[in-house]
Chain length 261, copies 2
């Protein structure tokens, strides 16, 4: 059991989100290493100021457009995604017409089932990745992480893999798939090698992506292609690094920062 | 059980340290929230470049001098410290002549005992903080975190509290104690309110502090005081922020950063 967070703690909100993750670990939805990954995200989000910066909104637009333009987009779900924003990811799946596929770095039958239950509880109507008769393997990567669904990632031209490991992202790119990701570290291998990278907290990002998907889904294909040309993933990641850099410099020069007590 | 990390993974080293923390959690040494805290540290260390920058060496010097000048310095140990560098913290305790005190944010009898065992195994000869007959409370903070040892933190003029929570750091400062910390986030409340903050990975920091302690411990008190005047915690934290800022900007401008595959 997680001890109660004192209500007078200045980082109360952040501690509550942590408890959600820890609770997810107890329910076998979140892998133990998923807690560490969440911590890395917390640090980068702290540097961002825990808000969606302008460049991230542009990344999210580009991400949604890329997924809407794809022939058979798929959304890959892992434990942290299922614990942090299960309802939001189900809404995105519906808005994009892209199925959900459970796809785990630390794969066990128990986790697969726990995540499936969490997604069903959040309103998911169908979920790929759990039926052994549709399992295929990506030979480019070692380990259990190579298993994919023949109806989903295996045959998809564009995969949304938020909070993904770099190894697997690169393997999927080598298979000539377009990859869209959410990763708060702009220089992670996943961020650097994806077709579109969103440098934002996944909780904020997916909510905003649902809005963009509903806004863009009735647009003409040619208009979406035109809009897509306005953005470049590399430029936006550089902007993310520059934004973080200037945030740290601004904090260094804040006169009152040391006047906490 | 933690699944085996594939040897061909480019972040193999980092994954192995993560496994050490996860193993520490299984042994009840590390709190669940301690895994998330480790992740935050990983992100900031990644920005530093996973090396000790020049400003951190100066922070470590100032920290060691401050502890050597104290009347009754104490080293506060929590689960992450015990899991990441138990032998090194015992060496530091010996080099500084400062006792170790177990002091936990998420306090349970089980964790206290597990950490005590880890420290004894690492060579600790005596450990404060576990004998109920010497327990005192800090009224400035709520929660179980207020318990301290009358022979240690309660009566100490200078406490080394690596990886500490901001609430408790501030409470200890209000009691007019000098506080030395290790915290990779230069703008955490702990970093900002401590007397001396070390913005570095604790594994590297403690090893370097032991060297400085052995080098400085035979110095005259007046020489140490003179040396101490050369440094200022606020200036060094600003330098840490500037260093991180320039690292991110440098990465943004690296031409080959996107040429991973």
């Amino acid at each position: 059991m997680v001890p109660e967070v004192p209500k007078d703690h200045p980082r109360y909100e952040s501690l509550i989100t942590r408890e959600k993750l820890i609770e997810g670990m107890h329910q076998k939805v979140v892998a133990e290493a998923g807690l560490i990954a969440h911590g890395r995200g917390e640090a980068f989000d702290y540097i961002l100021g825990e808000i969606t910066p302008p460049f991230a909104l542009r990344q999210e637009k580009l991400a949604v457009i890329t997924l809407l333009l794809a022939k058979s987009p798929v959304i890959s779900v892992n434990g942290n995604v299922a614990a942090l924003c299960p309802k939001e990811i189900v809404s995105l799946s519906e808005a994009l017409g892209a199925p959900l596929e459970i796809n785990l770095f630390y794969r066990t039958q128990e986790r697969e089932t726990a995540i499936e239950e969490a997604l069903v509880k959040a309103g998911a109507k169908s979920i790929l990745g759990t039926d052994p008769s549709y399992q295929n393997t990506i030979t480019e990567i070692s380990h259990l992480r190579r298993i994919v669904d023949t109806r989903g990632i295996a045959s998809s031209d564009c995969v949304f893999v938020p909070l993904e490991d770099g190894d697997r992202t690169i393997a999927l790119r080598k298979l000539k798939k377009e990859i869209v990701t959410v990763d708060l570290n702009p220089i992670s291998r996943t961020s650097l090698t994806s077709t579109v990278s969103i440098t934002n907290n996944i909780i904020r990002a997916v909510v905003e992506m649902v809005k963009f998907a509903n806004e863009f889904k009735d647009f003409n294909r040619s208009d979406l292609l035109e809009e897509k040309k306005r953005y470049n993933n590399k430029d936006l990641l550089q902007e993310a690094l520059q934004f973080m850099s200037s945030r740290l410099l601004k904090l260094a020069n804040e006169k009152n920062i040391f006047e906490i007590f």
